[in-house]
Subunit: 169 residues, 2 copies
Amino acid sequence: MAGCEAKERKILVAVDEGEESMYALSWCLNNIVVSQNSKDTLILIYAKPTPSIYTAVDGTGYLFSPDTMSSMERYSNEVAECVMEKAKRLCKEDHNLDVKVETRVESGDPRDVICQAVEKFGVDLAVLGSHGYGLIKRTFLGSVSNHCAQTAKCPVLIVKRPKSDGPSK
Amino acid sequence: MAGCEAKERKILVAVDEGEESMYALSWCLNNIVVSQNSKDTLILIYAKPTPSIYTAVDGTGYLFSPDTMSSMERYSNEVAECVMEKAKRLCKEDHNLDVKVETRVESGDPRDVICQAVEKFGVDLAVLGSHGYGLIKRTFLGSVSNHCAQTAKCPVLIVKRPKSDGPSK
């Protein structure tokens, strides 16, 4: 296994709108996907809230109007697109890696979205920030990273952003 | 960061007498420390129970005799030595990596031992199996990997051994 032979691995990175997930992606690129000749495939996954989650957030017992739901859905799609663009830019420009990048936007609780994607795509390693993963964070009880570390059927790398806010290494 | 330039990283791997931690070490060697010219330093750490833990295990309210304590201590040292030998063999022979390996045996709760070592040695990545880390496992309440993922001041990789018991990749 020695040397720089390329191995075909599927590495899932869960991204969201927070800086921590971008730091986790950057750390992964620097420390796991280091070779320009890498045959790794990066699967960037973003979990967007389902309509039922918006309803839970309201908390008044009333449903949002169809108009409100529709604009929330539109906003959520725009956020997903923006996050994916930022993540892809990080891979291609900032790290100058010609790695294969796939993006997936799925609706649901990020814990389920991540664990299901691991099985669906036969992922070899899942990379997560230690916080975040929710447009509306308080709707997700419990820690996404803890849950995935125990449940996902592959090794899980949990990357914390240093408190100093220094550059990634 | 592209290419195979060697980076000087300190990678801590927590080992114990269980197969899961050896699988985690093997996965780390195959997927993180892949280069023969690596400048990585592997720090293999083993947490052995403290005398107070033996006492708690007795559970009768009586202390063990000094003779019993002494033979438990001796046994624990032998286990530590055996685990370290096995781990070093895995690095050098099975993976043919000329990586620098340091070994540390510390007394205490593995959660504290691991998190303290991360700070003490300026570790860049901590690698853990998702279970284990205790000669006498039931004395350690809560999950070592969960605790370290939240507390350790570096990224934490949690490696589960596949249920199929297949070879590591």
